[in-house]
């Protein structure tokens, strides 16, 4: 019995120390082997040196997709945008209902999400401009806690975005 108490006190001590300090993961600021592949997935090359035109079209496409422009700097070729949307997923709802019935405790499910995106243009040569777009999201559950913070890596997402941008700018989006 006493040893249980000792163990629990020890656990509390450990938990308190962890709560004070969280270490940065080693790979957080390191170029990963996948970073090249991600760059290719998120970048397209356009045969134009008109950066302003690409940025304007980019802003149009983001607006079409319901994003709110948060910041932009045309001198550096940057647009940042975000949108707040529902994050409820049918599968999770069903799972939560079953768990609630089993455990008799209300389960939190994903509720809201903020999708963030940045679009960057960059001159590649005298006649070409690169556009790189990156999506990420934060998800909150029904208790208001953050349940997910993640990059959005689905290749289809990027293909679709660039096909829309290419339509908007009347130029072909070339793979890099």
């Amino acid at each position: 019995m006493k040893s249980i108490k000792k163990v629990s006190v020890f656990a509390v001590v450990c938990l308190s120390l962890i709560a004070c300090q969280g270490g940065v993961p080693k790979e957080a600021l390191e170029l990963s082997p996948e970073s090249l592949q991600q760059r290719q997935q998120q970048t397209r090359r356009f045969d134009t040196n008109n950066e302003a035109k690409l940025l304007t079209s980019g802003a149009q496409v983001l607006q079409d997709l319901g994003f709110t422009i948060e910041d932009s700097e045309t001198k550096l070729g940057m647009i940042a945008a975000s949108k707040d949307r529902d994050a409820t997923e049918a599968g999770q709802v069903v799972g939560a209902i079953l768990l609630t019935l089993l455990t008799k405790q209300a389960q939190a499910i994903d509720d809201k999400q903020k999708i963030r995106v940045s679009l960057i243009t960059r001159p590649a040569s005298a006649k070409e401009t690169l556009v790189r777009v990156t999506f990420q999201r934060v998800v909150w559950n029904t208790r208001g806690q953050v349940s997910k913070t993640e990059p959005l890596d689905d290749p289809k997402l990027y293909q679709e975005f660039f096909s829309k941008l290419s339509e908007s700018v009347f130029l072909t989006a070339n793979e890099i």
Binding site: V12, V13, S16, L29, R116, F135, E150
Partner: protein, 142 residues
């Protein structure tokens, strides 16, 4: 008797431990744990270029390579802020300014979830990635 004493002691330890972390959270507004000089040298590097705009564009590209989404950029101020979400939230501001007549100074500061990053290693990693993209060596500030 011993049982209640143990319980009280246990509660006291927990309270003390929690209190040990923080007394007044308002103190954090101007708080740093590393000395300002040490922190500045950890976070800064000098490059042999005077092209600030190009340096900023390279910083943006490097941050994107590292999985960041760019939040804000200002060519006049020379700042770029970005966020990486990957099970955690890392926010970073990188600023660029003239350093003498022939060099540019780049300073990065970052936070990981609710903590400032004051460990040199993450900054070294960032500047290693940046110098590759810059095709220039990142030099320590004298």
């Amino acid at each position: 008797m011993t049982n209640t004493m143990e319980k009280t002691a246990c509660a006291a330890i927990i309270i003390l431990l929690l209190a040990g972390c923080q007394t007044d959270s308002r103190n954090l507004v101007l708080a740093t744990s590393e000395s300002q000089v040490a922190l500045r040298s950890i976070q800064s590097r000098v490059f042999d270029t005077t092209d600030k705009a190009k340096t900023q564009r390279t910083i943006i590209a490097t941050l994107q390579d590292l999985g960041f989404v760019i939040d804000k950029a200002d060519a006049t101020l020379g700042t770029v802020s970005a966020t990486k979400l990957n099970g955690y939230a890392m926010r970073m501001t990188v600023s660029v300014r003239d350093h003498g007549a022939k060099q540019t100074l780049v300073r990065a500061s970052a936070q990981y979830n609710q903590t400032a990053i004051e460990d040199p290693v993450p900054y070294q990693q960032f500047f290693t990635a940046l110098e590759k993209a810059m095709f220039l060596t990142a030099q320590q500030v004298d």
